[in-house]
């Protein structure tokens, strides 16, 4: 049997979504961004809303997200993606609008925009990639850097007394009446990838139902910034990130889950 006899459309069990471009990803090998991009694009493909979707890219590792995501996109200045998304959504309430932001972008420089967009209940979806570090600029301390965690600007470990506490932005915005669906997921295992994808789908369905702001945090790795090999980085994430940033739904249909 020749290989051409095997590679046929009817034998195809999986293929890359056409909503991901053919451009090679600029992310480090092992990074969770690529998977997060893919499941986001798969959801948009499956919902058939590519032509009605406008994405907002942040500043950070995913600053070039628009090179990989095959939808209309705008690059925001650092932290302002929720404001940019607000401007788009208010003028085009019938479109699907999402932001894709890292922890520095969303939870440090963009804290005000995040909280106020959520508090107004802007009918947008925020995808929040939290890896506890500034990856793009070379591994500096982020608002979500764990206590004691070493980064290039906390070389002796994050000292809570002088550097403050890691910020649980997702729990924080879940308290706001404007948010309808708030969840924390990860993409380090096939099971978690499926759950994260389902969460993104729920977020976009919430947007379709005009229910308010939906936010999907994805706790991710940064093997370059954490100075770990990819598999070790995922293990470290499970052992250290998940206890502080526990996975699961925080708010569903506008109601807080499990005494949050």
């Amino acid at each position: 049997m020749d290989i051409k006899d095997i590679i046929k459309p009817e034998n195809l069990v999986y293929q890359k979504t056409p909503l991901m471009t053919d451009k090679p990803l600029s992310y480090c090998p092992g990074c969770g961004h690529g998977t997060a991009h893919r499941i986001l694009m798969e959801v948009i493909e499956e919902m058939g809303i590519q032509s009605e979707t406008i994405g907002v890219a942040p500043v950070g590792c995913s600053v070039l997200a628009y090179d990989f995501m095959n939808v209309d996109m705008v690059g925001a200045s650092h932290g302002r993606a929720p404001a940019v998304a607000t401007g788009i959504k208010r003028c085009w309430p019938e479109k699907f609008v999402y932001t894709y932001q890292g922890d520095g972008d969303l939870a440090a420089i963009g804290t005000a925009e995040t909280i106020h967009a959520c508090n107004r209940g802007e009918n947008i979806t925020i995808i929040f990639i939290n890896n506890g570090i500034y990856g793009m600029t070379g591994g500096q301390m982020a608002p979500t850097t764990l206590k004691g965690m070493k980064t290039s600007t906390s070389p002796y470990g994050r000292d809570i007394e002088t550097m403050g506490n890691p910020l649980k932005m997702t729990e924080l915005v879940a308290q706001l009446p404007g948010t309808c669906y708030v969840t924390r997921q990860s993409v380090h295992s096939p099971r978690n990838v499926r759950r994260a994808k389902k969460a993104i789908r729920t977020a976009f369905e919430s947007q379709k139902g005009k229910k308010g702001t939906s936010l999907v945090e994805i706790v991710s790795n940064c093997n370059s910034g954490w100075k770990l090999e990819p598999v070790a980085a995922n293990d470290w994430m499970v052992e250290n990130m998940f206890p502080f940033f526990p996975l699961g739904d925080i708010k569903v249909d506008g109601k807080l889950v499990n005494n949050q």
Binding site: S51, V74, G75, S77, A83, G87, C91, A112
Partner: protein, 356 residues
């Protein structure tokens, strides 16, 4: 039948935005321009035209909401006063870099810092020489009446879309707060056509997606983009210079003044002519592109030129650059929110240019 209304400058700008077919206004309160958003909120343009109005959490958010709306081809506007405009500079640089059209109104107050809430013209450098980072220009319109606060909303959006560039309306607390008669224009329709060569409206099936960004990490391509911007600015300089002349035919002395200072100079000209001093006025309407050529042509016939500004002397640098050597040029201004009287302006013309 003319539709006439007595309005504040800030209100006229807001009504002008609605009638010019603006799709969205995003702002944050600051004195002396809060009437812009107050008027819009009271007027409920959602019901009149479908225009959206949103009070943002900060000027940073407001200008970025404008950026988002503008990236989709909508007519977006914001307004603020000096400290708020300073906060917006990052966003304005991004708008210019990404070539997005929008209208920004600065009702200038005294600075630096928190300064005062009284009128000033000390934001001239910020408006015409950059303000934010990078090599970019704004088209800067300087209204000197409540009528122009209304009219320049139309002109501003026209120029913004013609050049795909932010337009700044540089007003001041005096023009913003005073009331005058305004002749209103008919309502223009809101945006219905979105040029798929650059706007984000969702990628149509079978067409390429659009990306709006100011980022290009390849320096050689970024230079080409910069060259393109400079070429656009040169076209602007060639085609969009606007100014007004008053009493220049027989003038021996020339005031150069814009905005509220131009109004004060009009009265000073009258007072001077009563004393036999022949004074004229060149009023730049576009501060960028600056009316350098008409000023240079007018200058050799003058015994002296007085640049009158409510600043320490910012526009006077452009007057000197335009005219060059050979003509006596001086600056007179008040600062920190103080408004010169016409008598004071005339006295200083005599002191600085005649008696020396």
């Amino acid at each position: 039948m003319k539709e006439l209304k007595l309005m504040k400058g800030n209100e006229a700008a807001a009504e002008g935005a609605i009638r010019a077919g603006a799709d969205g206004y995003f702002g944050y309160p600051i004195t002396p321009q809060s009437e812009v958003m107050e008027y819009l909120m009271a007027e409920q343009p959602e019901k009149r035209t479908g225009m959206v109005v949103l009070q943002a959490e900060s000027e940073l958010a407001a200008i970025n909401m404008v950026y988002g709306a503008a990236s989709t081809g909508k007519k977006a506007m914001t307004s603020s006063s000096s400290p708020g405009i300073s906060l917006m500079q990052e966003g304005i640089s991004y708008l210019a870099g990404a070539e997005l059209p929008c209208l920004i109104l600065n009702v200038v107050r005294g600075g630096p810092g928190l300064g005062t809430i009284q009128p000033s013209q000390a934001d001239y450098f910020q408006s015409t020489k950059g303000g934010g980072h990078g090599d970019y220009r704004l088209i800067v319109l300087a209204p000197s009446s409540v009528q122009e606060m209304f009219d320049f909303a139309f002109l501003g959006f026209d120029l913004a879309f013609k050049y795909r560039n932010p337009v700044l309306m540089l007003s001041d607390g005096l023009i913003g707060q005073m009331m005058e008669k305004v002749e209103l224009r008919e309502q223009l329709p809101r945006t219905t056509y979105f040029d798929r060569s650059w706007t984000l409206t969702g990628k149509p099936d079978g067409q390429e997606r659009n990306i709006v960004t100011s980022l290009d990490l390849d320096a050689s391509r970024q230079e080409v983009h910069n060259q393109h911007l400079q070429e656009k600015y040169r076209k602007c300089q060639a085609n969009e210079v606007r100014y007004e002349l008053l009493n220049t035919e027989d003038a021996e002395y020339l005031f150069v003044a814009y905005g509220s200072s131009a109004r004060i100079c009009q009265k000073a000209i009258q007072l001077g002519r009563e004393e036999g001093i022949k004074i004229g006025l060149l009023r730049p309407i576009t501060l960028w592109p600056y009316p350098a050529k008409p000023l240079a042509e007018l200058a050799p016939g003058m015994k002296g030129i007085l640049s009158v500004e409510q600043s320490a002397g910012q526009m006077v640098e452009d007057v000197r650059l335009s005219v060059g050597c050979g003509v006596h040029i001086e600056h007179f201004g008040r600062m920190g929110g103080m408004i010169p009287t016409p008598e004071e302006v005339l006295e200083n013309l005599k002191k600085l240019l005649i008696t020396k």
